[in-house]
Symmetry: C2
Subunit: 122 residues, 2 copies
């Protein structure tokens, strides 16, 4: 691969809740996304998902544990099977790390779902 400049990559797109792939390692993808507003409740049955906040802040709502508010420079791993709802009051830039097999919205399919095969490398 070529090296990837994180901030430069964020400059290449503007749409929300539409992850782009910027690297892969050990059957995982490194993705980046811009988030704004409330997403949908979902879980990834078999895949842990790492959230790292590059800009802004993100609230992760949970049903089985306390909510987690992530600020710039903070990370959190949502374990496999755990229902979560990401909410960004203002635009938030996030880096995600998850297995290649991870479906965008788990088994919950909505208009916002972007299929794995439609998630683009940038």
């Amino acid at each position: 691969m070529l090296k990837a400049d994180l901030i430069e990559k964020f400059g290449l797109f503007d749409d929300y809740w539409t992850p782009r792939i910027i690297a892969e390692l050990n059957d995982q993808f490194v993705k980046i996304a811009k988030l704004k507003g409330e997403f949908i409740w979902h879980n990834h049955e078999n895949e842990d998902e790492l959230f790292y906040i590059v800009k802004g802040s993100l609230l992760l709502k949970f049903r089985d544990r306390n909510n987690v508010k992530l600020n710039e420079g903070e990370m959190y791993v949502v374990p496999a099977g755990v229902n979560h709802l990401p909410v960004a009051d203002e635009e938030c830039w996030v880096m995600l790390i998850e297995p290649k097999s991870t479906e965008h919205t788990g088994s919950t399919i909505t208009d916002q779902t972007v299929k794995v095969e439609d998630q683009k490398w940038i």
Copy 2:
């Protein structure tokens, strides 16, 4: 896990070339390390290794490809089996992502090697 503040975690240690673990997901560890000087040539036979530069810059020397100079905010994945030599002229803060099984210096053991079981969570 609790959320992890990347910069705060870097404040918890000062020694070079001694990775600390800050998160885990899908049988991978997220580690951080402070680097200064020249490390040793090594490879990880079966594990890809992601380098993300949090502060400073890092030169990755290779034998089978062009060297890669990584600056703050840039990432690069060293594929499994590829010999590499990290060199940091000035202090560099790096985040690493690699499988839990990854040996610090691959099959090359030196005084600088920190065994996987000796790498601490912070």
